[in-house]
């Protein structure tokens, strides 16, 4: 894990430019939002997530997170069928602030087109560069 200007970027994940991360876990993909994203939103008080069985599409919103002063769409990093939803985050949305890459995961998806979609995402090294860029142009 590296920190870019205080923002965590863990290794072993793929990242989208819409502030999502994914972790490939065998046949499945775990998805969440980055540390950088949660820090822009600050104290998150509400997470609206899809039900298991819902379809999500790469680059399209699948839910929203709302903080005291902001609201943002959750944009899917890959397409697929939602297999599991983190119900703990729904009852304790502050987990998104406290632990965005671990206990604050949002959904687990069975991807439908991972081979084609994965190249659209950034790997760890690209994500570090991208974060550096975000911080500079801020």
């Amino acid at each position: 894990m590296v920190k870019v200007d205080g923002y965590e970027v863990p290794e072993g994940l793929y990242y989208s430019k819409e502030f999502a991360w994914i972790k490939i876990e065998g046949e499945k993909v775990r998805m969440g939002i980055t540390d950088y994203a949660q820090k822009q939103l600050r104290e998150i008080v509400y997470a609206e997530l899809p039900e298991a069985g819902a379809e999500v599409k790469q680059n399209e919103p699948y839910g929203t997170v709302e903080s005291v002063k902001a609201v943002s769409d959750l944009v899917a990093a890959v397409s697929g069928t939602v297999e599991e939803v983190n119900s703990e985050v729904q009852s304790r949305p502050e987990l998104l602030n406290e632990d965005p890459f671990d206990r604050g995961w949002l959904i687990i998806v069975k991807p439908s087109n991972l081979q084609v979609e994965l190249p659209n995402l950034m790997d760890f090294n690209q994500a570090v560069e991208w974060h550096k860029n975000q911080v500079q142009t801020k």
Partner: protein, 448 residues
């Protein structure tokens, strides 16, 4: 519901309004337009980059591009709104390349802020007079310091002038502050309280000349000296801090009425006299909670609160801005100064008869080694015995006392109620008798 909301100005007030609008309406198109290169940065932090406490101007950016992206707010920077047409409900813009565009709106929020004010002083067209309003202004001042400026004259002893003066002393410059009125911080403090701050600043090496009007800028093309109160003052750096003026030209040209303070007139929803057009922040006026008269206090804290209200209303929600007490705080070297509500002088101008109480105390138990002095002044309306204002000068712990007294004034607390306040105590943290309570007791005795 509004389909398209346009916000002119993307700073404290504008960004807050756009965020509040987005919370209400997840689908409306929300466009923020600013003529500046950088949006969503804190002007209030500028003096502390100059002073060196904050390492870079970049750190002042509160809302980076990612924020706008996440909230689906369209940001057009380096783009100036050149006209508003309230009949057609459009704004016309020109970007830096000069190309123009006309954009329709359903709701419009004017958050054009204020600019540094330069009075009609002889020689004002000369180069080298800096002010502190934008990031670029800050960079210019810091650049001048890094280029070896050794001395500075600051014109105006308001908050911005003094904060800048402190920053320059911290950078090793010799600083002279020239003020037209007989006291420093004339908008914020009564003369008796301002004197304490002035003494502290002088102890720290600031040269303060009050009751001196700047009469002329001297020098060929570039200013090399000023004349003030008949005296010639030379320096390497000249900073004008004469105050700020609301940016109202767009509104005036569009026929949107100004109020008696010459800022844009608004109602409690922050709506102007023209339907679906809102005005917020440094360019807008709203009511003073005590005098019930329009006021334009031009503070960041007011800008964000007005912004939230206007943003909600612009998106079809309902929200009211109840008014201002113009609560403000500052730290100048080791002294904090704060105000809420009316000063004694402001009360007199508003023909409100008051009784005051002033208490000197300590910020910790008197015997506790690091206790610092603190002075509380309460301003109480005579007939109702309601608290209408307070000023505090102290080594620490000023802000939250100002906030507590601001709540008290908002809740129309009487001085009798304040004298019975249930306060906490521990020697390393505060005195047994809270100085605000003692000040209330003093007022009660005077009211007997």
């Amino acid at each position: 519901m509004a389909k398209r909301i346009i916000v002119i100005g993307a700073n404290a007030a504008g960004v807050e309004a756009a965020s509040a609008a987005r919370k209400k309406d997840r689908t409306a198109e929300i466009i923020l337009i600013t003529q500046e290169k950088t949006a969503g940065y804190s002007r209030c932090g500028l003096p502390f980059v100059i002073g060196g406490q904050i390492s870079s101007f970049n750190d002042l950016i509160v809302y980076p591009p990612a924020y706008f992206q996440m909230l689906k707010l369209t940001l057009k920077n380096e783009t100036k709104v050149t006209a508003i047409n309230t009949k057609e409900k459009t704004v016309t813009t020109a970007d830096k390349a000069g190309s123009t565009e006309t954009l329709p709106y359903d709701s419009l929020v004017i958050a054009t802020g204020a600019d540094a004010f330069m009075p009609p002083i002889k020689g004002r067209e000369k180069q080298g007079i800096l002010s502190l309003r934008s990031l670029e202004d800050g960079e210019k001042i810091l650049q001048a310091v890094q280029n070896g400026a050794k001395s500075a004259v600051i014109m105006g002893a308001g908050l911005i002038g003094l904060e800048t003066g402190v920053a320059l002393i911290e950078r090793g410059l010799k600083v002279t502050v020239v003020e037209m009125l007989p006291q420093i911080l004339p908008q914020m403090l009564d003369a008796d309280m301002a004197k304490l701050v002035q003494e502290h600043l002088q102890e720290k090496g600031m040269c303060i000349l009050t009751s001196k009007t700047v009469e002329e800028f001297l020098g060929n093309d570039k200013v090399t000296a000023i004349m003030a109160g008949g005296e010639r003052m030379e320096a390497d750096l000249f900073i004008s801090a004469f105050g700020v003026r609301a940016n109202t030209k767009l509104a005036v040209d569009a026929g949107i009425p100004l109020g008696e303070t010459r800022a844009i007139k608004t109602n409690a929803r922050m709506e102007t006299d023209v339907k679906d057009v809102y005005a917020i922040g440094d360019c807008a006026e709203s009511l003073n909670l005590i005098t019930h008269k329009p006021t334009c206090a031009q503070l960041g804290t007011i800008a964000v609160r007005q912004g939230k209200v206007a943003g909600k209303n612009a998106a079809g929600d309902y929200s009211l801005f109840t008014g201002v007490l113009a609560s403000a705080v500052t730290r100048l070297f080791d002294v904090e100064a704060g105000v809420t509500g009316l000063t004694e002088a402001a009360a007199a101008r508003a023909k409100i008869e008051v009784v005051t109480g002033v208490i000197s105390s300590k910020t910790k138990a008197d015997y506790y080694p690091t206790a610092k002095p603190i002075k509380v002044k309460l301003v109480v309306e005579k007939e109702s015995q309601r608290i209408v204002g307070a000023q505090i000068i102290g080594g620490e712990e000023v802000t939250q006392r100002i906030n507590a007294l601001s709540f008290a004034i908002q809740k129309e607390m009487t001085v009798r109620e304040l004298a019975k306040a249930d306060t906490a105590y521990a020697p390393p943290l505060c005195e047994t008798w809270e100085p605000m309570v003692l000040a209330a007791e003093m007022v009660l005795m005077k009211l007997r």
